[in-house]
Amino acid sequence: MTVDQSGHDVHEAELPVEMVTLTIDDVSVSVPKGTLLIRAAELIGVEIPRFCDHPLLEPVGACRQCLVEVPDAGNGRGFPKPQASCTLEVAEGMVARTHLTSEVATKAQVGTMEFLLINHPLDCPVCDKGGECPLQNQAMSHGRGESRFTETKRTFPKPVPVSAQVLLDRERCVLCARCTRFSEQIAGDPFIALVERGAEQQVGIGPNIDGGDEPFHSYFSGNTIQICPVGALTSADYRFRSRPFDLVSTPAVAEHDSCGAAIRVDHRRGRVMRRLAGDDPEVNEEWITDKDRFAFTWSGGDDRVRTPLVRNAETGELEPASWPAALATAARLLQQVHGSAGVLPGGRLTLEDAYAWSKFARLALGTNDVDFRSRAVGAGEADALAAAVAGVPASVTYRDLERARHVVLVGLEPEDEAGTLFLRLRKAVREHGTKVITVASHRSRGTTKLQARLVQVVPGNEAVALADLELGPDDVLLAGERLGLVPGGLAAAVEATGRSGARFAWVPRRAGDRGAVEAGLLPNLLPAGRPVVDAEARADLAAAWDVNAVPGTVGRDTAAIIAGVADRTLRGLLVGGVEIADLPDPALARAALAAADVVVSLEVRHSEVTAVADIVLPIAPMVEKPGTFVTWDGRRRSFDAVLDEPNSVTDTRVLAGIAEELGRPLGFRTIAGARDDLASLGGWDGTRADLPAVRREPVVPAAGQLVLSTWRQLIDDARGQDGQPEYSATARPPVLRASAATWDAHGVIPGEVATLTAPGRDLRVALPTEVDDLPDGVIWAPGNNGTNLRELGLGHGSAVQVTSGGLA
């Protein structure tokens, strides 16, 4: 057994691999049985030209570019015709000759290349792909210098939008079917297909029921652009914006979920032009979600905070200030509320910044009133995280999903909340026979694509359902954010896996959530899994930090901090990257901000918080700083700054500055320093926090009330997706879903508009309705498409009412 750098046990199947020895271009090579000839050739450094071939897609053999000569198929007989090396499996004793040693192969390849180019416009100078185009490159390496084709090319009107985001120039297409195969095999969204025949064949979209075009509905559509071996598919966003050779590429990590997908960020003259999927076989393979790909403009708008801002006490206006003045003022104000300030750092921090926040709260502000959860919080959630997640090496990896017998999803919709995880689960289902079970109100489109078996529950009853779930040691349970909102939900999941030997993983929604738990950004938790209530853990930490003591009482969680500020039990707030509308009760949060004596905000962009803050300290977005995200599977994904912005500073640097002004320095100022400081703490091998009691109280809706099932869809109105109208246009249209009986009971005719109301709120949401297979008395609504349901005080399991008709 070996251990990889993330600390995971690498238990590859120890079955002996049957090897096959063959000869390619007179070089002998041994490869595992079942290897395709084209891959075997790669191993000896021979790159056979190809278009339709893609290692993650099923072979198709359509383009015929990779033809080679096979004088011996391994049985002493050769193939009379050149063979497509992308579909031919190697055989013992096989002899193959590529273009390097075979005239036949060379002529076949050159001939195919010439055919591919006859109907291609050769408009490389105006094509996005020019400069990074497999067709262009391979035409140079394996084509004729000049074409013999002088006749008429096939032409098409251009371009066709296959979706708002993806455009198709049909005349450039070489019909390799990579995009259609990706959509069908990988994403499970077969909304594009090859249509027509002969040279008129083209990628098409289907008609919809209204007689219009059915667009390419997929959260993963951008991958087709990246794997297109020509410039046929382009993004509306990047089209004609840049040339590949003007771009500087930097590897990075996607910041929109807890998956840690490897990405490549391409920038030009200080501006990010596009993002592409990186290649990491252990995480995202070569795929990313459209959110990871297209939602990168949020930090590049006009609303960036460019300088520190200090509110002028006389005018009440925020005024630019120097960094030293702003830090000194912040320190002075925070000193005034020392011991009575709450800390809301948000869930999007890097591990290093989260650690700086955690240390700052304890050392500089002397409080455990800190909570990264800028959302609703569940009873027992923090305790369960302390007991089963913090400081615990993750026991599940992406690859483990492929080996699992069952993967149980509770309170988790992978397609919407963890797209990379969704794709890996789909692969596990399709290729490895993994069975997915979803404990949810209904089968969503995402879980349908995972062929998931539904354990149907009324939202809030997940813990009850988990009690009845029979798991085995080869099974995996993935708990999503919403399970934490169910009282005792996470504890029930941990208990269910512990009981059966199955493995448990917590899949939060935000990139910083898992790191925040490690850093101790919870009222009950110190860094690296040290429980606040454990005196030994506190003493250990105080010694490491070289202080006398760290605060010893369990602090307030997000809801309690807001309530405390609102009722003036607390007097100050230190806030980082929190959207008010995401908080448990946005109205109360606004009142709290207004009531607070001191509000210090660390922000990238102007927000509702900065509008009322006393001091606004601008911090770097992900693209301008290094850091580490901890993924749901406990993987530490470090990245460097993409853009070198000297004026852009990290949360760590800002908090270190304030701490120094306060005379209680953090001991580091840089990300590297924070990382080292955290590492030097080591893990916690003492007593762990106790798992809270499992509570199983079935939800019983009051008469006339419905229970809300809701989650945030991948593409929604969150500010992290600002500035990409074409991308946003591909969001799933918001609808309300309920069973036919539920609609009928409330006088709603499915297909028509109904209005959702929350008890005691004025705000309402009117949306079209659809029938879906939900339990009677449960209604589903999207979390933040059009209206953020939290503004109605609504979340998973809330009581709601519904009436027919729109807003009066």
Partner: protein, 441 residues
């Protein structure tokens, strides 16, 4: 001379209402079925294997061997699919057979299904021939009513459902794997092999796909025995078959004869080539042995035995035995252009050489047909064909090159004439029509 003919499949075509079950039964129809029902499936396979019956769809693969490839341990159901998507230019044997004698096919299907232990069979008919689809469906209905189809056939315990499926008119769907995709409701394009249909065919289950004539020949073999069957034909090409004579002959039509007959004999049976306007007999210029995908032959090949080996030795293929006969009035260039236009139109688009190659070939041939050919065009055509032949995904691309390369082989001077003279001047189209009167508006 007419004793050369061996009408078996076509024996009853002249009968009144030959397509109905009672008329078919009068000549012993469905007797073979009763015999077969008393036989073990494995014995049926052995019988067909030993008979030497080879696929009549063109490739000539031994039918019994194909059946024996069906695995017996596969948990999925086994399917029998009859390829009745007859679309090759010049080929016209299955459609008249199904029109005149649908029950011989139905009977063959039932026997073949017993041999491979299929409980569901399909006849995939090209959609354009609605009249044939109707005849087949009527015959299937009659067979159900007679207890030859459905549950517990003739008390044997065997169940079989037979579905007559109309295609939508794509030549590619005659390619067996494209046919399967089409039958499954997808767009017809050839599949990657392996897996072969015998292992994972229709609905990823073991599947036998046979040509109409192959299956229709089975009842006669069961009834007549392998010695009788082997008494016809040649050593490696046994039995009787339908030869479809068309073009510039006096009496075009279906001639059922033993394999190995020659075109000279068939032309005699067909009354020879048509008469010229001046009364003289026209001269044979070229002909196809088995549809447009088989390299064309000339008058020097009149005595080639029309069996799998004989035609192969002459540099062509027996194919579907669609003998299209062209006399001296025909422009080879124009003829080849028409065929190539067909392949360009019917190329499914999946693979590059066929899709793009046929697009290009047509443009070069059009130029030659117009007398606008350029120096090097013939070499270009040959090179393009070389880049398509054996490089395409399926045989459609190969077939598209056959008429071109063979035409250049035998009639290069006509292509050279295309550099300066339009074919319509060298060979006025009206002269080669079978109905030479001018059509006026």
């Amino acid at each position: 001379m007419s004793d050369v003919l061996t009408p078996v499949l076509s024996a009853n075509w002249a009968d009144d209402r030959a397509w109905t079950l009672p008329v078919y039964a009068e000549r012993g129809g469905y007797e073979a079925l009763r015999t077969a029902m008393a036989m073990e499936p494995a014995d049926l396979i052995t019988l067909v294997k030993d008979s030497g019956l080879r696929g009549r769809g063109g490739a000539g693969f031994p039918t019994g061997m194909k059946w024996s490839f069906i695995p017996t341990d596969n948990p999925n159901p086994t399917y029998l699919v009859v390829n009745a998507d007859e679309s090759e230019p010049g080929t016209c044997k299955d459609i008249p057979l199904m029109m005149a004698n649908p029950h011989v096919l139905v009977e063959g299907v039932i026997i073949a299904a017993r041999a491979i232990q299929a409980q569901r069979a399909f006849i995939y008919v090209r959609g354009e021939v609605l009249h044939v689809v109707r005849r087949l469906r009527a015959a299937v209905r009659e067979a159900y009513e007679a207890g030859y189809l459905g549950p517990n056939i003739l008390g044997s315990g065997m169940n079989l459902d037979l579905v007559v499926h109309a295609g939508a008119g794509a030549y590619i769907c005659g390619e067996e794997t494209a046919l399967l995709d089409s039958l499954e409701g997808r767009r017809g394009q050839p599949r990657l092999r392996p897996p072969f249909p015998a292992v994972a065919g229709l609905y990823a289950s073991p599947t036998v796909i046979n040509n109409v004539e192959s299956i229709a020949s089975v009842p006669a073999i069961v009834r007549g025995g392998i010695d009788w069957f082997g008494s016809m034909g040649t050593e490696k090409s046994k039995g009787f078959t339908l030869y479809s004579l068309s073009g510039h002959v006096k009496r075009p039509g279906q001639y059922e004869a033993p394999l190995g007959i020659t075109l000279r004999q068939l032309l005699d049976l067909g009354g020879g080539l048509r008469a010229n306007p001046d009364g003289s007999s026209s001269e044979l210029k070229f002909w196809t042995p088995g549809g447009s995908s088989t390299p064309l032959l000339t008058a020097e090949h009149l005595d080639v035995p029309l069996d799998y080996e004989g035609v192969g030795a002459a540099g062509s293929m027996l194919g579907t035995k669609a003998l299209q006969v062209f006399d001296q009035t025909t422009s080879v260039v124009r003829c080849v252009l028409r065929w190539t236009e067909f392949y360009k139109h019917e190329s499914c688009g999946k693979c590059t050489p066929c899709r793009e190659g046929t697009w290009w070939l047509v443009q070069v041939l059009r130029r030659l047909d117009e007398g606008q050919g350029r120096e090097g065009d013939i070499e270009l055509l040959l090179d393009l064909c070389d880049n398509i032949l054996g490089r395409s995904f399926c045989a459609l691309g190969d077939g598209a090159t056959s008429p071109i390369t063979s035409a250049i082989q035998y009639f290069r001077d006509e292509f050279e004439a295309g550099m300066h003279t339009p074919s319509r001047e060298l060979f006025p189209p009206a002269a080669s029509t079978l109905f030479p009167q001018e059509v006026t508006a």
